[in-house]
């Protein structure tokens, strides 16, 4: 997928981000935030570079990277679904939506489809409780989403849906 040139450019970009910070451990979080922002996830090479830069063990950096929910260790998909799981949305059935996405695409929160097309994450209250349950696909907001609507949304974004087995 990613060509060598692309990979080299990405590595350069990581380095640019990292060397902006002094080589001290207390900047690990800040560096990771910048990497996440730039790449939408934390690339392994980026974390290794960070560890080397601040002279910390890779295990320490990895531990932090996996501790905070704001970081993702796998690349987000071309289409990233955010399902609100705040109180209102939860009550209005966000778990049903998450389950429906799993049925259709086989991904759970924090995962990305193998083809890199779709990813799913849950978020806390988006401040739109009146239209719960809320789903956001990239920047587009969907209100009062039902399982049927989930299927439509996936199709709208070019997804193939595994039709449910007949014995359901």
């Amino acid at each position: 997928m990613a060509g060598d040139a692309q990979q080299a450019a990405a590595l350069q970009e990581m380095e640019r981000i990292i060397v902006r910070y002094p080589a001290e451990r207390r900047y690990i979080l800040a560096i990771m935030q910048d990497l996440q922002k730039k790449f939408n996830y934390l690339p392994k090479e980026g974390l290794q570079m960070t560890a080397r830069h601040v002279n910390a063990p890779m295990s320490t950096v990895y531990s932090m990277a996996t501790f905070y929910k704001a970081f993702s260790l796998v690349p987000k998909g071309r289409v990233n679904f955010k399902v609100c799981d705040g109180t209102a949305c939860h009550i209005k059935g966000s778990q049903v939506l998450i389950n429906e996405i799993y049925q259709c695409l086989g991904i759970k929160p924090g995962e990305t489809t193998p083809d890199g097309e779709f990813s799913l994450e849950t978020v806390n209250c988006l401040g739109a409780c009146a239209i719960a349950p809320v789903l956001v696909a990239n920047q587009k907001v969907y209100a009062k989403v039902t399982p049927a609507a989930v299927r439509e949304i996936i199709k709208e974004h070019g997804g193939q849906i595994n039709e449910p087995a007949v014995n359901e």
């Binding site: 392994k44 974390l47 063990p57 890779m58 295990s59 320490t60 950096v61 990895y62 531990s63 996996t66 501790f67 905070y68 929910k69």
Partner: protein, 248 residues
């Protein structure tokens, strides 16, 4: 300085923790994440005690609480025992699969009526393994993920270039969670295989190559020892001694 622990006067060095002072005085406080070699971590809270300073009392983790003044300590009260039972219950629910945890659960009277979420799980997240690895200087493992998914592993669960195969982590683990699988001429820990070097004399595999290299790098050119397993070394030393006596 003197403090009172369970009514007994105990001498403390300023800055020493309550746990250390109590241990020296032979007073038992239960712990899970404490080890003399690493000091207190304040993770498990089993070592909780009641501290009375003036007329204020509060609960603290004795393994991390440094004594800095006149205090009275109680190592067991109904509330403390309730908290400890709770800790045991929660840990048993998470990780029932070890002799260590089963025994502890019985000891605390099988608190709660619980079904463990994963009967196979044995790690109680005391992180003694992580501390051991840190002490060794390898820093190959750490606590990863969060919440109920938290566990100890190498980055990406892959064999870590930092792991030197010393097995200190497995040795310190109270629950036997960390597996060292031995095969002829090699062993594996944290998914990483380590080849053993063979004895020059009997050709039995006896020392991990990495550890040999580690020792060599530390001793430098002084390391001219023959490459013998403990048995052959003993035989050889025995022979040297015998020979020197016979020749006299």
């Amino acid at each position: 300085m003197k403090i009172k622990i369970d009514g007994i006067e105990v001498d403390v060095i300023s800055g020493e923790t309550i746990l250390e002072a109590a241990r020296r005085a032979g007073i038992h406080i239960p712990t899970l994440c404490y080890h003399e070699a690493f000091g207190g971590q304040g993770i498990c809270r089993m070592c909780i005690v009641e501290v009375k300073e003036g007329n204020r009392t509060r609960l603290v983790a004795s393994c991390t609480y440094p004594v800095n003044g006149e205090i009275e300590v109680k190592t067991s009260t109904p509330e403390i025992e309730r908290i400890r039972r709770n800790i045991v219950m929660l840990l048993y629910r998470r990780a029932p699969n070890s002799e260590f945890m089963k025994k502890l659960y019985e000891e605390y009277g099988r608190p709660g009526d619980i079904t463990p979420s994963d009967p196979e799980e044995s790690c109680i997240m005391c992180r003694l393994c992580v501390r051991a690895c840190e002490k060794v200087g390898a820093n190959a493992i750490s606590a990863v993920l969060r919440g109920t998914e938290k566990r100890v592993s190498t980055p990406y669960d892959e064999p870590s270039p930092d792991c030197i195969g010393c097995c200190a982590c497995a040795q310190v683990c109270p629950t036997g969670t960390i597996r060292v699988s031995t095969m002829p001429g090699k062993y594996e820990i944290w998914n990483k295989a380590f080849e053993m070097d063979r004895c020059e004399s009997c050709s039995r595999p006896f020392v991990p190559q990495v550890i040999l290299e580690h020792v060599r790098s530390k001793l430098g050119p002084d390391f001219t020892e023959e490459h013998l397993c403990p048995d052959c070394r003993k035989k050889k030393t025995g022979k040297i001694i015998a020979d020197s006596h016979l020749s006299k």
